[in-house]
Amino acid sequence: MTALEGQGVPAVYVASTEFVEAAAAQARSLGFEPAGVFVAHPIQDRTDAEMHALADAALDAVWARLTE
């Protein structure tokens, strides 16, 4: 993520809410806070339909993080 932004490419990550603290800690360590969108945990046992719903819900936030 940091590398892509460093090369001038706007980037956003999508992660489950379990990741919120880890992402903050990593941002402090790297001296840089990448753009992120958090989706509801859990992930791994979701059906396809549920995953699609997560994507539908995340779309606007992803779009917003990649545009001015």
Partner: protein
């Protein structure tokens, strides 16, 4: 771990934190890369995201990290950076 503290050599008119790179006004008509970090179910999420973005006029390219345990290899990062105008990395859990 001790962090190095440096004195700011600038005019301090910009925020102290490293800023993200400038964003375009819209993704419509741009090439956006979807980078699958290879955790389970991420591909299903990204399939749907691809559909939705394409529906909004975005040119989507798909990429795939060989394993989620290690950072993306340099040549994959280079390829993504050179072919895409924006990137979504998913799905970490």
């Amino acid at each position: 771990m001790t962090r190095t503290e440096l004195l700011d050599p600038t005019s301090e008119r910009q925020p102290a934190a490293r800023q993200r790179v400038a964003r375009p006004a819209s993704l419509r008509g741009l090439t956006v890369g979807l980078l699958d970090i290879s955790k389970p179910r991420g591909d299903v999420f990204l399939d749907r995201l691809e559909e939705l973005l394409a529906g909004r006029g975005v040119e989507v390219l798909r990429f795939h990290k060989p394993t989620f345990t290690k950072p993306a290899p340099a040549d994959l990062r280079q390829e993504v950076a050179s072919r895409c105008e924006a990137v979504v990395e998913a799905l970490a859990d």
